[in-house]
Amino acid sequence: MSELILDITTISISYVLFWLVIIILILYPKLSKRKVQRRLNRLNQNK
């Protein structure tokens, strides 16, 4: 494979990884908070 194609592959993997890290870090607190909130609501309903 030519160096250019390998370079493009490397930079694409890095760029996708960069956004993957950002997306995981954005979604983790949001989804966890929703889960906690659901548990809290269930607890309050079973009062």
């Binding site: 160096e3 250019l4 390998l6 370079d7 493009i8 490397t10 930079i11 993997i13 890095s14 760029y15 990884l17 960069f18 890290v21 950002i22 995981i24 870090l25 954005i26 607190p29 949001k30 966890s32 908070k33 906690v36 909130q37 548990r39 809290l40 607890l43 309050n44």
Partner: protein, 235 residues
Amino acid sequence: MTFKLKKNSYLLIVSLLLLIINLLLIFGLASFERIVYIIFFYHVSAAWLSYFSFGVSLIGHLLYLKQKKMNWSNLGKNSIIVGVFFVAFTLITGSLWFNATSGSYNNIYWQWSDARQTTTLILLLSYIAYLIFRNFIEDREKKAKLSAILGIVFFPTVPLSYLSAIIFTSLHPLINPNPGEPGSIYWDSIKLFILLFNLVAITILFFYLIRELKELDIAKQKLQERLYTKMEEGR
């Protein structure tokens, strides 16, 4: 229908917008001999953010030991969560970059003799150990106290990782103004401006993430209190 954004969401929108503008700047303004050198902007930004996060965690842990306020302990932990992700990204992109440049695509991703790579791996493993350790302790006060001590003990791995390329043998290039020397291709006002732009964008993202993680801690605390009162009622 009205759509109201949370105060914190503005930080996210601004940082994502800046990151997209940054991508346009990279392709529009920065010129490199090889396209793979674009990794530089992401690798350095992620490294900066991870060092910054661990620095904030150190402050959080020190303040916890001084004031015994749980908020500081949570700040320390949350900064480490963000830092761990970005330092892992830094290591991966560093290895890919190494294979592309020094390794000339001969599948050489790692060299244990390279001080920067090895010390950064030690840094990553130390903070992963911190998160695992913190998760194992049940008692809140004990958890905060012991993890604050551990966070402070592990912090020297951060300056060690940074200085390793300067004081030990490393193939890691440093931004250098002397033409012809490794790292001199990044000594360019446009490239440094784009890098700074990326650093600002990613630092704004850090503050957004910390605020979100703080809200998660508050929600978890509420749940724990609710569970505790329910248990008391059941007795």
